[in-house]
Amino acid sequence: MSSFWDALGGAFGLVVALDPDLMEIIGLSMQVTLTAVLFACLIGLPLGAAVGTFHFPGRSLVAVILNALMGLPPVVVGLLVYLLLSASGPLAPLRLLYTPAAMVIAQVILVTPIVAALTRQVIEDLNREYSEQFASMGVGRLDRMTAMLWDARYSLLTVALAGFGRAVAEVGAVIIVGGNINHVTRVMTTTIALETSKGNLQLALALGVILLLIAFAVNSCVMALRASAVRAAYA
């Protein structure tokens, strides 16, 4: 695997040299992923909290559906979004196909169920502890949800990071709706797939290592923020 180390060195060289092409790709990766995770959390956290908190008919069915949707195949999501946005699709006038926005849409669809399903579990566990007290205090539905989302925030960070992991690693959906178009929609994962299909396996691996390091950096930042928040809460 010595050629791998060469490739890794080369790839790092590009990063260190701030190679504009690679920087553009990394930047777009982060932009698409973080936007998608943000939206997925905006939808998935309240959704999961609602299912984890309230009793309504069909609640366990919804929980099972959310769990099942964690198994949404990326390619299928990609196709669905493609068919919606394509020139002959219903949303063609938006002209979003092969834009980063389309990739964000696909990732939101993919990541939201993960965030929602895991949030449901976390909130359900907390609700077992809080629900009688809340009922006694007459806390309204919205207040219950927000209070529990807030109090479970440290556990939910892991949920959001799971969503981030799925989004940042994802290639099947974004390549279909983004098209992996150079300088437009090319991100880390689609680049890796491309280099793989070109047979540049070592380069592909090296790019993968860089992607992982970026994911590691993001996770470290989040956990450091969390730690300092915990410290502040106890100070």
């Binding site: 493609y82 946005l85 020139a87 092969y98 390549i175 098209g179 797939a193 299909s197 047979g199």
Partner: protein, 255 residues
Amino acid sequence: GQVTFAQDKFIIVQSTTSTQNSGLFDYLLPIFTDKTGIEVRVVAVGTGQAIKNAANGDGDVLFVHSKPSEEKFVADGLGVSRADVMYNDFVIVGPTSDPAGVAGSEDVVASLKKIAEAKAPFASRGDDSGTHKAELRLWKAAGIDPSEASGDWYSETGSGMGATLNAGTGMGAYVLTDRATWISFGNKGDFEVLVEGDPVLFNQYGVILVNPQVHEHVKAEMGQEFIDWLLSDEGQSAIADYKVDGQQLFFPNAG
């Protein structure tokens, strides 16, 4: 050769997506297997990846369409020898609205010039595949460097033929494709073949046995049997017999 167990009676062919997506293998391989009892397992990936995989020894036979790379593979001692099997041709497909007005042309270079002048959307595979390399040769002949317009009217999809065709029909862009993939492609939309018949659009497929002296586990006997059959009259006519919608996709030209 080597001892072959019953469940081991198979070979692995590293090939490209065009042969797989066109359905050729689904038609061809059962005929061969019925006759010889040898199962053929096809791994269909990008040309570059197929060659790389074969170079690593992860296949017994290489069946691709990029003559220079194939010749280099043999010259490097990784393959035993190369033989022509069949050809088809490249065509330019595009929307019926034809914004660059290239429909009916037989001059592919002139057509590319028109497309570039009109800045009409063009989707390229951009993946160093045989098709991509052929496309780049044609642009060069037209005196255009499309990479300058990359991300503008010229989109490098960095994907396989099918994915690039999906992108092309999705964004209404011209695409250079091999005819076989196009004919069997299911998502044509309002696209049709606009430019065809130029002799420079010739697309040759070759077959190579991976060198058992480099990779000793290569099933040379069975691999050679497959190659021999492909090149035989029987194999050649089987290739010619494969049709989609009444159209012949590949034209045998062994020997």
